[in-house]
């Protein structure tokens, strides 16, 4: 199994699919990367030779932010919002949606599993 940038071990899927196991690479990026490296995106990943892998790795290294650095960048952006005391930052701090969605109901992705409050309207008391 080929290893690209340390930990990522894409399996025996087509190259453009396996590249998406790298954090920060989606469908579009995977195809672009293949083109840049001159790799056939439809060939299976296990058929890639050393040369192909190293070419992919150098391009990734040079031109894109993926994995750790990307994660760090995202965290830094959020930290900046918190730091300057913006509304979006305060929403991040409270783990609520930041882009104006309603939070009276729904917003479960951000709020996590439902926490039932006793004594609230609709909740049956024993």
């Amino acid at each position: 199994m080929p290893r690209i940038l340390g930990v990522d071990i894409p399996n025996d899927k087509k190259t453009h699919i396996s590249l998406r196991y790298i954090y920060g690479i989606g469908p579009a990026m995977a195809l672009r990367l293949c083109e840049q490296a001159g790799v056939d995106p439809l060939r299976l990943a296990k058929e890639l030779n050393e040369d192909d892998v190293s070419r992919l790795a150098t391009i990734l290294d040079r031109e894109y932010t993926v994995e750790g650095p990307l994660r760090r960048q995202i965290q830094q952006n959020i930290a900046r919002l918190k730091d300057i005391g913006s509304y979006r930052g305060s929403r991040h701090r409270r783990n609520l949606p930041c882009r104006g969605q309603r939070s009276k109901t729904n917003a479960r992705t951000r709020k996590g599993p439902r926490k039932t409050v006793a004594g609230k309207k609709g909740v049956k008391d024993k």
């Binding site: 900046r80 300057i84 005391g85 913006s86 509304y87 979006r88 305060s90 882009r99 004594g119 609709g122």
Partner: protein, 92 residues
Amino acid sequence: MGRSLKKGPHVDLRLLEKVEKLKAKGNRDPIKTWARDCTIIPDFVGLTFLVHNGKLFLKVYATEDMVGHNLGEFSPTRTFRGHTAKSKSSSK
């Protein structure tokens, strides 16, 4: 989010005028404003604004990092004091 680049940032013209006047004079008095939708541009850095939140004017000191955000983003309009801990009247 997602304002067309073609238009450029929205800056309240009257506020900009005030900023320029203040800069010419060289003092740093806070500027009272209702223009919450005004983008903070590099010229605003180092100035203090009193941004209306519908009730009060909150002090907003514009820093380098705030460039590109709107004044209103730093003057919250809602107060959330938390939910009631436990209402003894088990009503409904």
